[in-house]
């Protein structure tokens, strides 16, 4: 019984971090119709900025927002300088659908090399700002520590803020309108190009937060070849696809589902099957509901 509860808690914590990554994939997909594999590199770069702040000011609490802002700025810069040029020059023919994907993979490699150049390829350490030792009930240790509680609370807060922006503000309306129908939005006077950049910036911030939280939640080690970030990318992407790639709520649900399934497989089946399970889950969802769990039916295409 206790093991069941702990597995559940581990799944929720992991899932909430994946959901930030999934959200950042969805935000980019909605604004530019590009699957951004460079998101893992962006998240990593943001986390290194965070590491620099911790190194200088010795505060994770300053580093977290700084990493998010840095992530937003770098992502906006990539969209402005790189993606716009790319989409302009390869908007026709067979290359149109594949060029952005290859480009983001290239960017991922480039960002990792840049990180290696400036910070070296050795591990740097980001210490968890809060205790990662679980609360105890009687003699039992719960898989919920102050740090994990903070992670879940932070993700819930960020998702609520994003939901508020999207549903209740004019910026959110512009973001949604531009995602659904760029041409109509343009004719209505919305500066769709600018809105796209904002979409990338929000995605960059979410990615930065995911990187900072993931690193502090794990063993704190950070390197350009970090497996943690590769997993974060893979799981974030899978979660986004499970959720339909177009829906923020879908991304969160997909991520929590994935986190829970992986946690249960890890505890009750075995660690070697975790990665396979993630991809099997992806395939099953794609076969049964190709549009993702939250698919918006025919309306999307109009």
């Amino acid at each position: 019984m206790f093991q069941l509860l702990n597995t559940f808690l581990i799944g929720i914590t992991a899932g909430s971090i994946y959901s930030l990554m999934a959200i950042s994939m969805v935000l980019v997909w909605r604004s530019t119709r590009v699957v951004n594999f460079a998101q893992a590199g962006l998240a990593m770069l943001s986390t290194y900025f965070g590491y620099e702040i911790i190194h200088r000011f010795d505060s994770y609490w300053i580093a977290l927002p700084v990493a998010m802002i840095a992530g937003a700025l770098v992502a906006a810069g990539i969209e402005l300088i790189f993606m716009r040029l790319l989409l302009k020059h390869s908007s026709q023919g067979a290359i149109a659908s594949i060029a952005p994907i290859i480009a983001t993979l290239g960017l991922l490699g480039l960002i990792k090399s840049i990180i290696g150049y400036f910070w070296g390829n050795q591990d740097v350490i980001i210490e968890s700002p809060l205790s990662n030792v679980g609360f105890t009930i009687g003699t039992q240790t719960l898989a919920l520590s102050p740090m994990k509680t903070f992670i879940i609370a932070a993700v819930v807060f960020m998702v609520l803020v994003l939901t508020f922006i999207f549903q209740r503000t004019n910026l959110g309306l512009a973001l949604r309108a531009s995602a659904y129908a760029p041409e109509i939005s343009r004719l209505a006077g919305i500066k769709v190009d600018l809105v796209r950049t904002v979409g990338w910036a929000l995605a960059g911030a979410a990615g930065g937060a995911a990187g900072m939280l993931q690193t502090a939640n794990g063993n704190g080690a950070l390197s350009p070849d970090s497996l943690e970030f590769s997993l974060l990318l893979a799981f974030g992407f899978i979660a986004a696809v499970i959720g339909g790639l177009d829906s923020l709520i879908g991304a969160v649900i997909g991520a929590l589902l994935l986190g829970l399934v992986l946690a249960f497989v890890l505890t009750y089946v075995g660690g070697s099957l975790v990665f396979i399970t993630a991809f099997v889950l992806l395939l099953v969802v794609l076969l049964i509901r190709p549009g993702g769990l939250i698919s918006q039916k025919a309306g999307r295409r109009a």
């Binding site: 309108a177 659904y180 129908a181 041409e183 109509i184 343009r186 004719l187 500066k191 918006q296 109009a302």
Partner: protein, 236 residues
Amino acid sequence: MSLFIENLSVHHGAIHAVNNVSFKVEKGQLAALIGANGAGKTTLLRTLSGLNKATHGKAHWNETNLLHEKPEQLVRHGVSHVSEGKSVIPELTVKENLEIGALWRRNKKEMVVSLNEVVELFPRLGERLEQRADTLSGGERQMLALGRSLMSKPQLLLLDEPSLGLAPLVVEQIFQSIKDLTSSMGITVLLVEQNAMGALKIADIGIVLNLGSIAVTGDASALIADPQVRAAYLGY
């Protein structure tokens, strides 16, 4: 104050879609741009709103050069284009569809005022503000597209086939409200239509396009009476 077009040409790759077209629409006039499928009507309209690039020629709305601005900028100069076929965003609510027309003004108060005005003009939309746009009927969607355009306080309205896919009775209503609204607000209209007779009936002037070039132009009533135009474009 007029829409002034001179020697305008537009190419789609090798195809000469619009060929040396010149005409003028005075302020407050309703001009019907008619012609068969593939005559270049939509291409011409998309060029005037900045969606397509012209090869050469001139197009001005008052002092605004229509060929040098992006669509989102032209809206700020009072030019509003309602694109072909019930141009609404199905995933958004009726209210949101209307609001996006006024977002660029960055003024919440004005937006509310405009929203109330549009709802007064189209009470049907007012009853359905919180519904998603894809729950509306075809005629209601066309009203919504028109309403969104009015939210931006246009002086020049470019309308692309508002009758497309609508039942004959609804088409008549839509044409009538286009006529009433724009004449009462002093809006200049360039109306692209396949339904030539319906468009000419409400128009002040008519421009007939054939394979990218102007075939005939003149007073709408004169065009309706012209036996050649009747035979070629009005079908009787």
